[in-house]
């Protein structure tokens, strides 16, 4: 069964590149434009992985993770941050919020797919 990934980013070009890479690797992709949109879409359908940016309008990535972890259906779903933020302080906040990994932009499609496969399988 094809696995579904929710990608959350306010940058349209970034979402397009992430979606392109994931679809080419055989995943279904749902896109959201900010944390609130991501939360709404996550509630509509429980996905296999959430890939979220940090700095977004309306709701940021860390808040989104906190909200998702409060939902019973998302307590064990892997969540990865994909962000320009690279400080240890932010990574620690991400880990504390419930993120399973931290990827610093820009990403290389091959490495992104390797990580996704490691986390949820092909």
């Amino acid at each position: 069964m094809t696995k579904t990934i929710l990608t959350v980013d306010d940058s349209g070009s970034l979402r397009q590149m992430v979606a392109f890479s994931l679809k080419a690797a055989g995943y279904d992709v749902i896109q959201a434009v900010d944390g609130q949109d991501g939360l709404n879409k996550a509630k509509e359908k429980t996905v296999d992985l959430v890939l979220t940016d940090q700095n977004m309008p309306i709701m940021d990535g860390l808040t989104l993770i906190g909200n998702l972890r409060n939902l019973a259906s998302y307590q064990k779903v892997p969540i990865l941050m994909l962000t320009t933020e690279s400080s240890d302080e932010m990574k620690a906040k991400g880990k504390a919020a419930g993120a399973n990994g931290w990827l610093v932009k820009p990403f290389d499609p091959k490495r992104l797919i390797e990580v996704v496969q490691k986390v949820i399988g092909a």
Binding site: D9, S11, G12, S13, L14, Q16, M17, F20, S21, Q54, N55, T83, T84, E85, S86, K91, G94, K95, A99, N100, G101, W102, L103, V104, K105, P106, F107, D108, P109, K110, R111, V115, K118, V119
Partner: protein, 180 residues
Amino acid sequence: MNTLPIEELRALLAAVSKHGDWHLLEIETDLQQTMFLLNEAIEKLSASFMQVHQELSAQQAELKQLQQAGRLQAEEEARFAAYQTRIGHEVDRVITGMQFQDMTNQLLQRTVNRVNGLKALLQELSSHQAPMLAEDEYEEIKRFIMQLNQQFHQGSQHLSGHLRKAVNQQDLATGDIDLF
């Protein structure tokens, strides 16, 4: 007896505010235009990239059919496979490179926000128009300058606090990955 040139000082501060505001407005306009052009460029590049990829995929599908029908020599098959590998590498490099817009956009937006903050700070310079009594001139202007200084300090701190730098990348080398 020489007195403090309050009106001239006010005129100077108002001129700094007015000229500063005008130049900052020009900077803001240029930044907004740059952001717009970058967005438009990335949209066009993305659309072309997707189209090129679609055409290449169709071409590769046709080559595969020729290969399955036994209409390609082994040497040709090897050559086409090498092309496909090289195209794959270049596609990955394009995807990494296209992410420049996300980072430059964040930096430009931060600059626009700082410009707007500076404009608000400069407005303080021309906002003190209450008349001052001649006999209280020295104390009034001292209080006025101290108040202005304090407001500048607070405004600047407030601005810095809201403009944390989120992009520290110096090039488009791919970033680190940490799994927790």
